[in-house]
């Protein structure tokens, strides 16, 4: 609550800068138009024009909001929430690829982490490659994965989900390895004095104590997964999804459409990360680990 006022100030400042920048960036076009028409623009006319152009360099926030409302709320009101012109439809396409990739990546990452923690050979051979692979710009191979999988006959959701999986599985591996190793020698010894089997040691000590690490990396993985899905939609030729909206918008100079897709993607990311945060708080509270 203490932070609310400063945050609101900053957000307000962002909007002021945004409106100001819209005037500055769109003014040349407005002046040019006015000159061709042979009229002189007063300052207020100029501002009004820069905030209501059809293809502005930088659309004003209210234009973007109107566009988002037109492609979501109005569509729902007309009962066409899932028509191809609706942003909800495109968000849903991206969201489904994101979630599928996220689930696959998390599952794969946890399995790999367990292998790394329990098997010395795997630890020594795989772990350096996992870390090295984080330094590689993996997104660069997104177009190739899409095209190759298409050639094999796999298309639609799965190729995009593969890219999401690829991006989201690294943070999970690194976080889970750290988490599964977080119980100290004393706790492990305690398990041994209770004559715990390896399974019991895993389920009752290692897995529970890895939870804070898991959730921290899940948040990173979710954000990465969404980026993967959006980039994965670029090379498919702008068919459906938020990434496709971005690409189509940039082809036809529809800046308002680009911005509305961008804001939608941001909202989606915020919701997904917040959701994980909520699950994290609930789980840790029930496990008695909440701070």
């Amino acid at each position: 609550m203490r932070n609310l006022f400063p945050i609101l100030t900053v957000v307000a400042a962002i909007f002021v800068i945004w409106y100001g920048a819209a005037v500055a960036l769109n003014a040349p076009w407005a002046k040019d138009q006015a000159k061709r028409a042979g009229v002189e623009l007063t300052f207020s006319e100029l501002v009004a024009d820069t905030w209501s152009q059809k293809k502005p360099k930088l659309p004003a926030p209210h234009q973007v909001t109107a566009e988002i409302w037109k492609t979501t709320g109005e569509m729902v009101a007309k009962g066409r929430a899932f028509s191809k012109r609706s942003l909800i439809y495109h968000s849903w396409i991206t969201l489904s690829a994101t979630m599928l990739g996220f689930v696959m990546g998390t599952g794969f990452g946890i399995l790999l982490a367990i292998g790394i923690v329990y098997n010395r050979v795997m630890d020594m051979s795989v772990m350096p490659w996992v870390i090295a692979s984080q330094t590689i710009p993996i997104l660069a191979i997104a177009p190739m994965i899409i095209v190759v999988l298409n050639a094999v006959g796999i298309s639609g959701l799965l190729p995009k989900a593969m890219i999401s999986m690829y991006l989201s599985f690294f943070p999970v591996v690194v976080g889970m390895v750290k988490g599964l190793r977080s119980p100290d020698q004393m706790q492990l010894d305690q398990m041994r004095t209770w004559n715990a089997t390896a399974g019991q040691q895993f389920w009752r000590l290692r897995l529970p104590s890895s939870m804070p690490f898991l959730f921290a990396s899940l948040k990173v993985a979710m954000a990465a997964s969404l980026v993967g899905a959006i980039v994965g939609e670029l090379p498919t030729g702008a068919v459906a999804g938020l990434g496709a909206r971005l690409l189509a918008g940039s082809y036809y100079g529809q800046t308002i459409q680009i911005w509305s897709a961008l804001i939608m993607a941001a909202a989606l990311a915020a919701c997904l990360v917040a959701m994980i945060g909520m699950i994290q708080r609930m789980t840790l509270k029930r496990m008695g680990m909440a701070q």
């Binding site: 050979v121 330094t135 191979i141 190739m144 190759v148 959006i230 971005l246 940039s250 915020a270």
Partner: protein, 279 residues
């Protein structure tokens, strides 16, 4: 048939060798050799599988084919490297990290900004900023300037958040000591707080190396002059020249690792006194 046999044999040899090496007492030699053998085994299996199962080069070229293409198209790769990495990624990285660093110091001076900007910065750092790419390409044109701009936007917030966090890393006792020395704000900043922030700053610098490359490459998918790694990847995929794509990916991998490694080396040299570097 013979190639499949070779693949299976190299898998067995690599596996046995690693099991044996891992059982040896840990030394520099074993920690280096085990991952190397693992990587080599994977490449061998890849090569054998492509040849043995006669996988079309349109789907997955063999490593040897990629190596040949790599050597043959060195001039193209070099041209793309200069365009994307030196002009796009590196200039954007320096600009973005530099400005984030300076703004972080300003934010740190004013608690109001700190409480307001930091949550917003944290929020923005989690957003899919790559999406800004088409807009920035529209604003700054097709050449490397727009790529540098995308990189600036991508590296700015992670770097900002890390630096601000680092500047708060000193504890009350240390700051009180500086006050008893009657040191000015600048002296405290230069002699206590910046050095203490170094590990955090380098953490930010390391995270953003990969982001910089990703930003520069992805921005080229939205339009670029007829050179650049992202351009080459997207057009070669269209021409089904996958060996060239893989060669570009090899370049990206080498550059990415070298970039990260270079920053890590610099960190080691500058923060040799920090507990995380001693050990």
């Amino acid at each position: 048939m013979m190639w499949i046999a070779i693949g299976v044999i190299s898998w067995l040899i690599g596996w046995r060798a690693n099991v044996w090496l891992a059982a040896q007492p840990t030394s520099r030699f074993t920690t280096l050799m085990v991952p190397v053998i693992f990587g080599l085994t994977l490449v061998m299996i890849w090569e054998a599988a492509v040849r043995g199962f006669e996988i079309s080069p349109v789907l997955l070229p063999a490593p040897s084919v990629i190596a040949v293409t790599f050597v043959q198209s060195l001039d193209i790769l070099w041209q793309d490297f200069v365009q994307t990495v030196i002009k796009g990624a590196l200039s954007g990285y320096i600009l973005g990290c530099g400005s984030a660093f300076l703004i972080a110091i300003v934010i740190d001076r004013f608690p109001f900004l700190q409480r307001g900007l930091l949550p917003v910065g944290n929020f923005v750092a989690a957003l899919p900023i790559v999406g800004m790419a088409p807009i920035l390409v529209m604003w700054f044109g097709f050449d490397w300037q727009s790529k540098a701009a995308v990189v600036v936007v991508m590296v700015f917030f992670p770097m900002l958040v890390n630096t601000v966090e680092g500047l708060q890393a000193t504890d009350k006792m240390q700051r009180d000591l500086m006050r008893t020395y009657a040191s000015s704000y600048m002296q405290t900043l230069l002699k206590l707080r910046l050095p203490a922030a170094m590990p955090f700053i380098f953490n930010g610098l390391k995270i953003t190396t990969t982001l910089a490359l990703i930003g520069a490459i992805v921005a080229e998918f939205f339009g670029s002059p007829i050179k650049g790694m992202g351009f080459r990847i997207s057009t070669s995929v269209g021409q089904l020249a996958l060996d060239l794509v893989w060669a570009e990916i090899v370049v990206a991998a080498i550059v990415g690792s070298a970039f990260y490694g270079g920053v890590a080396k610099l960190e080691k040299a500058l923060t040799f006194w920090h507990p995380s570097q001693r050990g």
